[in-house]
């Protein structure tokens, strides 16, 4: 009986600890988001969206940084999405059991978790050194390199969920394979693929490290893709680390903007995924 009591006690203890661990995890989510909201809301003013980043001591907004972030994210998505989808298509549709496919899949998964600052160094060597100056193009390419593995992964996973009977039916009608993939597989997997792209955008929207050495920053309004361009993450980094109170307020405002965007994209992507036609 003593043993039984001890086992029950151990069990109750472990259950309580597991529950506490979950509470502990959620606590940080609540803490981070609530302090972010608390500090960030004060910074959300019309000026934030209409004025450019100020020199220390004067008022301003984040207009140029918001613009730069949107432009670079957009270009990165436009480069990264087709690349990722085509590579993912190869893995799912053409490389069943092939050695080459396994290697690509393995390397892609490593790129998926590789430190983003390494990507920044790579693009610095690849573009900034060659061109002789920092530029928004380099920033966009660095972000695109982060988009690719995410899209490759989700595209492959989603295409693998498409029932083979669909492909067989289309092939039986005499359709060439590329048409089967484009007209049948893609259509069946489209929701999942869009989810993947949304998650990739969410991932790069807040990426800072790869932009530090590529797009750098720009205090002024600039639409020149061949020159350094302001962007929210780097501005937040610079302003938050500065000793100026009004810069720090702007940093909180920017942080809130990024977080809202990222969480919105994430939750939207999840909603879309759970709504999707094929599930495991």
């Amino acid at each position: 009986m003593a043993i039984y009591a001890r086992r029950r006690l151990t069990n109750a203890l472990v259950m309580a600890l597991a529950m506490a661990a979950t509470g502990f995890g959620l606590l940080w989510l609540v803490l981070v988001l609530s302090t972010l909201l608390w500090n960030g809301v004060a910074a959300i003013t019309p000026a934030l969206f209409t004025q450019t980043t100020p020199p220390p001591g004067s008022t301003g907004g984040l207009l140029n940084a918001i613009f730069g972030s949107v432009v670079m994210t957009l270009i990165a998505t436009l480069i990264g999405t087709p690349t990722g989808i085509l590579a993912g298509t190869f893995l799912a549709e053409y490389s069943r059991g092939s050695r080459f496919g396994e290697v690509v899949r393995f390397i892609n998964d490593i790129l998926l978790s590789a430190p983003s600052i390494i990507v920044g160094l790579f693009v610095y060597q690849l573009m900034v050194v060659r061109m002789g100056h920092f530029s928004a193009w380099a920033g966009a390419v660095a972000l695109a390199i982060i988009v690719v593995p995410v899209v490759v992964r989700t595209t492959e996973d989603m295409l693998n969920l498409v029932p083979n009977t669909l492909r067989e039916a289309a092939s039986a009608l005499g359709s060439p394979q590329w048409k089967v993939i484009v007209m049948v597989s893609y259509r069946a997997a489209i929701q999942g693929m869009v989810t993947g792209v949304m998650l990739a955008v969410a991932r790069i929207a807040g990426e800072t490290a790869p932009l530090l050495f590529t797009a750098l920053n720009n205090q002024f309004w600039s639409t020149n893709l061949n020159a350094p361009m302001a962007n929210l993450p780097v501005v937040i980094f610079q302003f938050a680390m500065s000793p100026y109170a009004d810069w720090q307020v702007l940093a909180w405002g920017g942080a809130l903007l990024i977080t809202i965007t990222v969480l919105f994209l994430n939750i939207g992507a999840r909603a879309l995924a759970s709504w999707s036609t094929f599930k495991q």
Partner: protein, 323 residues
């Protein structure tokens, strides 16, 4: 992990009629798959190319010298390597038990209707960008640590002879321990979601047999589920470790960026990625720049090994589960 019967997805021989379209599309997708490998190859070439001047100048001693002096142009990677390893170790010590608890709660204890929302919320921790953890750590968490946690640690653990050296010094708020703790929160969702996934692969029959013999939930998890999924759990932990090693912005904000090795984990330090983020754009002189790229190369090699190991572990589990 689809279990469908292998349909020959290569173009059948009788489709000669469609040859041009299929040929083009197939090779187009192949080229882009090749691009994934080229990215990795490019990263290696670029890093090695950039690191060569520093490595040639300092030789192998670059790895174990702890001097970092831009003025005299003497550089050694020991302090950032040390900081990277120590912060990641702290992250693992704090993160693994919590992640295990979360995974156990979600798979074994919580009611089904709560599973999805709970899992999503934990995963949102991973969605929050690194820089947000950074700014939050600097303005909210570090002051809190400085005021309440560090004084308590110093007056209790810091007084123990021997071990006390680990917790000595003034409470600064920022430092190695704070950085490690924030890393723990950041890797928690990665580790717990993989643990959750692999726990789900444990065959229900095994679990039910154990329950039938009168095992408690704890015993089922520890003696049935965990042994069955051990490889996957190790894989998940390695994946989290890979993330922690390369995490940049959150650490840069709170570690204090001091190129030195202190015995105390309450003191400022630096990591490879924090050094890069802080110094790269301000580095003057080829040797300084090259030393920083060499740091990047070291980080890349370490994370590559850890991540490859993680991936191999997870693949093994997948194969066994009949993927």
């Amino acid at each position: 992990m689809s279990a469908d019967i292998a349909l020959p997805r290569v173009a059948p021989a009788n489709s000669r009629r469609h040859a041009p379209g299929d040929f083009i599309f197939r090779h187009l997708t192949f080229l882009f798959a090749l691009l994934v490998l080229l990215i990795l190859g490019g990263v290696i070439v670029a890093l090695v190319d950039g690191a060569v001047p520093a490595l040639r100048h300092f030789g192998i001693s670059f790895l174990y010298t702890d001097v970092w002096n831009p003025v005299t142009e003497k550089f050694g990677a020991l302090a950032p390597i040390y900081g990277t390893l120590v912060t990641s170790a702290i992250a693992m010590v704090v993160g693994i038990p919590v992640a295990f608890g979360v995974a156990m709660f979600i798979t074994e204890i919580c009611p089904i209707w709560l599973k999805r929302p709970l899992a999503t919320m934990i995963e949102l921790l991973a969605a929050i960008p690194s820089i947000i953890y950074g700014i939050w750590g600097l303005f909210v968490f570090a002051p809190f640590v400085q005021q309440y946690i560090q004084p308590a640690i110093i007056s209790s653990l810091g007084q123990i002879p021997g071990v006390g050296a680990l917790f000595a010094g003034p409470p600064l708020g920022i430092g190695v321990l704070t950085a490690g703790f924030i890393l723990a929160i950041m890797v928690l969702p990665f580790i717990s979601s993989i643990m959750r996934d692999v726990f789900e692969t444990a065959p229900p029959m095994l679990k039910e047999s154990a329950y039938g013999l009168g095992a408690t939930r704890t015993e089922v998890v520890l003696h049935v589920v965990l042994p069955y999924t051990r490889i996957g759990v190790v894989g998940g932990i390695m994946l989290g470790l890979g993330r922690a090693l390369g995490e940049t912005m959150a650490v840069t904000f709170v570690i204090g960026n001091a190129h030195r090795i202190s015995a105390s984990i309450l003191q400022p330090g630096t990591t490879i990625s924090a050094s890069l983020a802080n110094e790269f754009t301000e580095a003057v002189g080829d040797l300084y720049l090259s030393s920083l790229i060499a740091l990047g190369l070291i980080l890349f090699v370490i994370t590559f090994i850890v991540l490859a190991f993680a991936k191999l572990m997870l693949l093994r589990l997948q194969k066994r589960a009949g993927g």
